[in-house]
Amino acid sequence: MKIRDLELEFSRRTMMAAGAGGIVWGGLLARLFQLQVLESERYASLAAENRVKLELAPPRRGRILDRFGAELASHRSAGRVTVTRERAGDVGAVLSRISDLIDLSPERRDRILRDVARQPSFVPAVVANELTYEDFARMNIHAASLPGVEVEMASTRSYPRGRDFAHVLGYVARASERDLQRLTEGASLTERELVRRLFKHPDMRTGRSGIEYTAEEWLRGTVGRRRVVTNAAGRIIEELPSDDLAPTPGRDVSVTIDADLQRAAIERFQDESGAAVVLDIDSGDILALVSTPAYDPNDFVNGISQADYDVLRANDRSPLYHKAYDGLYPPGSTFKMVTATAALEAGVIDPNERITCNQQYWFGNRTWHCWKDGGHGPVNMHEAIKGSCDVYFYEVARRVGIERLAETSRKFGFGHRWDLGMTGGRSGVVPNDAWKRATFGEQWYEGETLNIGIGQGYLNSSPLHLAVMCARIAAEGRVIAPNLVGDGPNRGPRDIVDAPLDAEMMQRMKAGMFGVTSEWGGTARSSGDLGLGGPRLAGKTGTAQVRRITAAERRSGVLKGDQIDRKLRDHALFVAYAPADNPKYAAAVVVEHGEGGSRAAAPVARDILAHAIRNESGRTPTYQRSASNAAASTSRGAL
């Protein structure tokens, strides 16, 4: 009987559960009926007028500051006109009415129509940026009668120093589909959605190169929300207070560069194209990183026109190219200190041994030449550096051999991509047998070693490499790593080539470099005086051969600069440090197609170093003062 009871109880409970379920379902159905049938009209009108919206509020992008806090990248307000298809209806008609008010080229109109068609109908498309005050006022008066048109003050990325920092800072632009893919990689579905929506906002930009690119997350800040009331046409009529939802601005980044020195260096180049790097020997901070000519990053913020971009690309002085970090040049004679160091390390030469230079050097069945007509006569190491004697270094390089020469070059940082925490940067080439077999499938010939000994041949390096080499000599072998970011992500120094260099050997190199600028027979004697009534600089000239001098030309006399096309002229190089007796700054200068190092590059380097010393203020960089604050703050700049 017990069994029957359980069964009966189960049936009874099933009935009751069915009843309960029925009540719940009936309740839900009744609720839907209430909302959708009984109160439908009320909600329909609410939907039509529903215009309290939460909009995404873009965060203000962090600034980029120089060593002493001067703004290199910041913001500026500018009038902007946008149109929203959903509210405008016929966008073409609205645009033609706008073009009566402000200047709107037909190409621009086509582009807007294309943008509008591609985006969802409720996303505003930018009609005009950076309105003049008159245009802004005129548009404001007429906007009310133009459906779907908004006139507002927008915040735009601005680079107050223009071209000076083009390659260092890079630039920002509207996020393209490719940018979005990159920015949302690995994010969850909702984060991805949020980032995509955020970047549709007309104020949002993303870094495309330089620090703007590598520090993107740090600079971006955290998205907020904005509560707005819109009218039936969708125009924002009121903004409600929403401090709790406000976006968190991005964080500032400080670079180690001194904007004044950067400016002075660029001015000194005048119309020449080239690159300059100035290092603080003490800290490794990069005080100037110049590549000139440059483009104006402000032109890129709202999208550069194809025509303007083509002009930049066609320019034979390559303004788009970062010559100081990405440019590779044979180091030429500036490399001779490396060859000399390699010889001393290998013990293949006594510094006092004299080698006689008759302008010619025979090896195998070929002849190598020294640059100096008539030769240098018998020279020891000091004189060879001072007079930049090629024959001496052919002989020394032959004795050292390519493998040991390559090894010593790497100690100076050649062949290594210095990581500055920004885009670009190249390692250059330090050739040896293995490299040549891998690259050309051919063994190394001893004759090629001679070219490497004077910094030519396969060897190449960027101006940054030359500056680091010079700084390591000036610091008598102390390990120095270049550093570009003072405060921000990728704060430096990022990497260090920790190879010991003998202090006594480096003193010998310094003596040679001092001879170059300050002793009888030095190749850059005219540039030795900084013009500050005392301190001198020490340096080394170099010439990077662009074309090959044929035997026939050698016989008839080597052509002079003005006899050949500019593009075929040699690059002029100079590395230097100052003050010579107590080095604080190291510099490398490349003047493209400037011919001789002593004539074209040395005076530039001298004036840049003189400027650095003259304007020394003893100020400490702002990021050192704020470093402790930064360490204490745990908030991240990520979205």
């Binding site: 099933t14 379902w25 839907l32 009320r42 959605e193």
Partner: protein, 387 residues
């Protein structure tokens, strides 16, 4: 007559007459009508996802992803349907233990998504153990009652371990914090206990304790944001831009749908992105806005039919295990549907519960389809003996 978990029946049994069922026999017993309803709901869900993501060109992959997931889960359901009940019974305890350990894993190593820690990653797998627990708990309760519920033991004692089985994982889920899932787990577990014959006086006493305890829980257990969601239920216009925003916008979407809706992909609320989470938990707003009362009532009634069908299957099972397992599975699904629509329609506070088969979301799809697999298995093996 010795009676071990088997319920007497007067219907002649094919299985008894012909011995073991072949897979071919089993397929012949599949209730195709139920399968048609399930498939219909999933297809409708795909269409609604299409509509809800059409204005976001980046989300265009979601509907097809949803459909592919449904197909994969469908295969799983059919395979599970063929699994004999004794295998389910044998798997019950291990499955419960594994789910419990995974839940503990979330407690200690979980990763968060959307503010709550409910995801666990093991190697390439990433899932919500709380979803797995729903099915495991159902099986564990059914297995427990199969074994220990004797005709003589209508007393209270036999139910205490069952309650422990329910509340131990529910508290872990509550800590994640995932209020919605915890409530679903508790509610569907209690339904099984109710059907197992817990005394009415205990049920009533529990109900009274619940009512008295509710204010206490409201003030001391719920978090601020959860309290805010409850408050907006009574007074939705108090803070239309803050906690009540989602709820208020959802109501506007549903209400403005009217009698027959604004038409497929024509919902202004949905298309203008007024409603957050509209392709997951708030998908019902899209269909209510675009298909009106006719559409939303139809979906509600189809779900009702599916649930009733599930209960009928439970009642016709000859074993306690089969009966309780089907009840547990079907009530889990029923609570999903009721909580989701109740929340979207502004009757319940906003807790994150998806609408099965229609909302976008992989783990929930798997749980629900595996639950249907269990129900189908109970149906197919309704006459098989367990001992």
């Amino acid at each position: 007559m010795t009676w071990s978990g088997e319920i007497r029946t007067s219907a002649p049994s094919r299985a008894r007459r012909f011995g073991r069922q072949t897979n071919f026999d089993k397929i012949g017993r599949i209730p195709w009508g139920l399968i048609a309803l399930i498939t219909g709901l999933a297809l409708f869900g795909t269409a609604m996802l299409y509509s809800s993501t059409i204005t976001n060109p980046e989300n265009t992959g979601l509907p097809s992803k949803h459909f592919v997931r449904f197909l994969a889960a469908f295969v799983l359901m059919m395979v599970l349907a063929l699994v004999p009940l004794r295998v389910w019974l044998a798997a019950a305890l291990p499955a419960y233990i594994v789910s419990f350990i995974l839940l503990l894993g979330v407690e200690f190593f979980g990763s968060s998504g959307g503010g709550a820690e409910r995801w666990l990653e093991i190697g390439p797998f990433r899932g919500q153990p709380s979803e797995l627990m729903k099915l495991s708990l159902t099986l564990a309760l059914a297995a427990y009652y199969q074994r220990y519920l004797k005709e003589a033991s209508g007393g209270l004692l036999v139910h205490i371990p069952a309650l422990f089985l329910i509340f131990a994982p529910a508290l872990l889920i509550l800590r994640q914090p995932d209020l919605g899932t915890a409530l679903t787990v508790i509610a569907s577990g209690l339904v099984v206990v109710y059907f197992a014959g817990l005394f009415w006086r205990v049920i009533i006493a529990g109900g009274i304790a619940g009512i008295i305890g509710a204010p206490f829980a409201y003030f001391y257990v719920l978090k601020d944001y959860q309290r805010a969601r409850v408050e907006t239920l009574w007074n939705p216009s108090a803070d239309p831009l803050g906690a009540g925003y989602q709820s208020e916008q959802a109501k506007i979407a549903i209400g403005s749908g009217g009698w027959d809706g604004k038409g497929f992909t024509q919902g202004t609320q949905s298309q203008l992105d007024f409603i957050p989470e509209q392709h997951t938990d708030f998908i019902f707003t899209v269909l209510a806005e675009e298909f009106g009362f006719l559409g939303s009532a139809a979906v509600l009634l189809v779900w009702g039919a599916v649930i009733v069908w599930g209960f009928v299957i439970a009642m016709r099972s000859h074993t306690r295990f089969g009966r309780f397992a089907a009840i547990g599975a079907v009530s889990t699904i029923a609570f999903y549907v009721a909580f989701n629509i109740g929340m979207v329609a502004g009757l319940l506070p906003v807790v994150g519960i998806p609408l099965p088969l229609i909302s976008f979301g992989g783990t929930a799809m798997l749980t629900v389809m595996a639950g249907f697999g269990l129900i189908l298995s109970v149906h197919i093996h309704r006459e098989s003996k367990l001992l």
